[in-house]
């Protein structure tokens, strides 16, 4: 299974996303990382190019709702069926909001790496 990990928006805090990348690789996933400050459009382009099975958006500046909205529109615009996830500094109240926008699941700070891995693995089983 191949996952694209991305940093949309202007936030440059990439410790968490890189920790997750290490964790996913150890668990047998293939990981492509976008690097910092990528537009949603570029992220979706990269997801298509790399034929990934899921996209992770790492956002710690608080812009998650705005960026999730953009993500949802971009995915719809291109008629894609690809599960996407949000991780980062997300207040509890915003978790259901993100899922309502279209995120498959949201992982606030403090989530266990194993929980993310389990979630991605489940995705594979369903597919």
């Amino acid at each position: 299974m191949k996952v694209l990990l991305s940093k949309p928006g202007l936030d440059g805090h990439d410790v968490g996303v890189k920790v997750l990348a290490h964790g996913l690789i150890k668990a047998g996933f293939e990981v492509v990382y976008t690097g910092l400050r990528k537009s949603i459009e570029t992220i979706v382009d990269m997801a298509i190019e790399n034929e990934v099975d899921a996209i992770g958006l790492s956002i710690l500046s608080g812009t998650h709702l705005v960026l999730a909205q953009q993500m949802n529109e971009e995915i719809k615009k291109r008629n894609l069926v690809i599960p996407w996830f949000v991780g980062g500094n997300i207040p509890t109240l915003d978790v259901p909001k993100l899922e309502a926008i279209g995120a498959n699941k949201a992982f606030p700070t403090g989530s266990k790496i194993q929980a993310v891995i389990a979630c991605f693995k489940e995705l594979k089983v369903k597919a």
Partner: protein, 540 residues
């Protein structure tokens, strides 16, 4: 230290072996024989090599400066918070900027959508500085600008604002973070390629050495490097390598070491083992003094001072049982004071998940005030000096930091290590190991992997995003663009371009441009046209 004895003693006492995060083994007991640096018996605070502190009387004469990080959506709101902090006894201001400003984008840039004023104050033009600092006496309060990629513009705005208000800039005090090399390692608000980014830092050092001798244009940040996964030894070693890179740049412009070294300052991280951090600072302070004197030939003792801000360690705080962070921060404050810091800023207990509320910021302030006024922390200088353990560990840290700096040399120096991603790769691996240590319980964390409780998922106070302020900021920018002298702005932007192409110091043309209300985005765009942009090596 004698490793054979360590093992025997630990076995003798039938206690388990203990290792610090840095990998150093801790003996259960220390004696005078463990202290290698014999000079410590004769060394006085305020004397080279400053193990015991940079001033003879330290806090007995004046406590450390309290400088909490603050910055809110709009310059107006920021100004209100500044006045609140000053009324409550804070002696320095620490300005947070929003991400568009830090990345060199204007508030009306499409890439800034949703980010304007979110993590700090939005700045487009000099007007925003003038509003934020309204009613604040720049001669009395020292201001720290937390900005890096576009720091040269923020410093230029600060100088322009002071000049326009009639201050004598040669007396202006304050600090800018302006440490771009660490931004490539962690935090990520780089804009230009590495060599040009370093050149801009050196521009500010050169300009300040000539015109603002009391201003600290750079605060080298071990802090973010450690937050990105470095251990305490690497934190100091990488920071020193970075400071040396800026120093070499300044020297290559013909500036005398004694004309700027005393204005370099540091920003360090505190979390984890109490004694390890204290030894890190004491050993690091001694090593830095030796580097500046022995390698660079400084004649002035002040040039050898390791001046620092240290206090908050965001990496040590937890989202679980957030009230525990109040206690952690109080310990961090104690560590910082016992290490002889010049300035202190604590992370607020809610900072692990939001921008601090007024209440949590006040708790941080009171934590430091209680320590100063009730705990006797200011009574005597370097109270841990002479402790066998602390001195032995201090020796060891000096040695280990030096070794780690040699490793960076082997990577081709700090600039090369950043361009190739070597450092980024090494710290991110360690961050993963640390996180796994916490998640598996190998690294103890109260409330996270021990003494946990089933938490109420009730929402916490969250600093709301001020959508209206963001809108107002864009409106204000429009208004300024239509009322300023646009011919002059174009003329000054062209001057910046010309100086960039000729590789001249950009401080003078940027100061001239911001005085005419050229925007951050306009100036950065002109610089990008000449310098290009950094291409990030993808490493994890």
């Amino acid at each position: 230290m004698n490793d054979v004895k360590t093992k025997k003693t630990a076995e003798d006492l039938m206690v388990k072996r203990v290792f610090l995060e840095s990998g150093i083994e801790v003996d259960p007991i220390y004696t005078s024989e463990d202290v290698e640096y014999l000079g410590i018996d004769r060394e006085m605070p305020g004397e080279y090599p400053f193990t015991r502190g940079i001033h003879p009387a330290m806090y007995r004469k004046r406590p450390f400066t309290i400088r909490q990080y603050a910055g809110f959506a709009s310059p107006e709101e920021t100004n209100e918070r500044f006045h609140f902090l000053i009324r409550n006894g804070q002696s320095g201001l620490n300005v947070a900027f929003d991400l568009p400003t830090q990345c060199g984008l204007d508030s009306d840039d499409p890439r800034a959508l949703g980010e304007v004023g979110r993590v700090g104050m939005a700045v487009d033009t000099l007007d925003d500085f003038e509003i934020a600092f309204k009613g604040i006496d720049l001669d009395k309060i020292t201001v720290s600008l937390t900005i890096n990629g576009s720091a040269i513009i923020a410093i230029a705005m600060y100088i322009a604002m002071a000049e326009k208000a009639g201050y004598d800039i040669s007396k202006l005090r304050g600090t800018a973070q302006n440490d771009i090399l660490k931004e490539f390692i962690g935090r990520g608000t780089w804009i230009f390629p590495v060599d040009k980014s370093v050149k801009l830092v050196v521009d500010t050092i050169e300009y300040c050495a000539k015109h603002l001798p009391k201003y600290s244009p750079v605060s080298v940040c071990g802090y973010h490097i450690r937050e990105s996964g470095a251990n305490p030894i690497q934190e100091m070693a990488y920071a020193f390598c970075i400071a040396k890179a800026y120093t070499d740049g300044a020297l290559s412009r013909g500036i005398d070491i004694d004309d700027f070294a005393s204005r370099l300052s540091y920003n360090f991280d505190i979390y984890g083992n109490l004694f390890e951090q204290i030894a890190k600072f004491r050993g690091g302070r001694r090593l830095w003094a030796k580097i500046i004197k022995e390698e660079y030939g400084a004649r002035n003792d002040k040039s050898c001072w390791l001046r620092m801000i240290a206090g908050g360690g965001g990496g040590g705080l937890t989202k679980e049982q957030p009230e525990n962070n109040i206690i952690r921060s109080a310990y961090y404050a104690l560590i910082s004071a016992l290490s002889g810091t010049q300035t202190m800023a604590l992370c607020s207990y809610d900072e692990a998940y939001t921008i601090p509320t007024e209440k949590s910021a006040e708790i941080s302030l009171r934590t430091m005030q209680i320590m100063i006024h009730e705990m006797g922390i200011c009574d005597t200088v370097d109270p841990l000096g002479g402790s066998y353990y602390v001195e032995a560990l201090t020796d060891r840290f000096e040695e280990e930091i030096k070794k780690e700096m040699k490793t960076v040399d082997r990577w081709g120096g700090i600039v090369n290590a950043v361009v190739t991603g070597k450092i980024q790769e090494s710290v991110s691996k360690q961050a993963y190991e640390r996180e796994m240590g916490i998640q598996t319980g190998k690294v103890p964390k109260v409330g996270v992997n021990m003494f946990t409780r089933k938490e109420d998922p009730k929402p916490v106070d969250f600093h709301p995003y001020n959508q209206e302020a963001a809108g107002n900021q864009v409106e204000k920018l429009k208004r300024i663009k239509s009322t300023r002298n646009n011919n002059k702005v174009q003329e000054y932007l062209a001057a910046i371009k010309e100086d960039a192409e000729a590789d001249r110091n950009l401080m003078p043309p940027i100061i001239a441009a911001v005085k005419e209300y050229a925007t951050v985005g306009e100036i950065v765009q002109v610089m990008k046209d000449v310098y290009g942009e950094f291409e990030e090596p993808i490493f994890f």
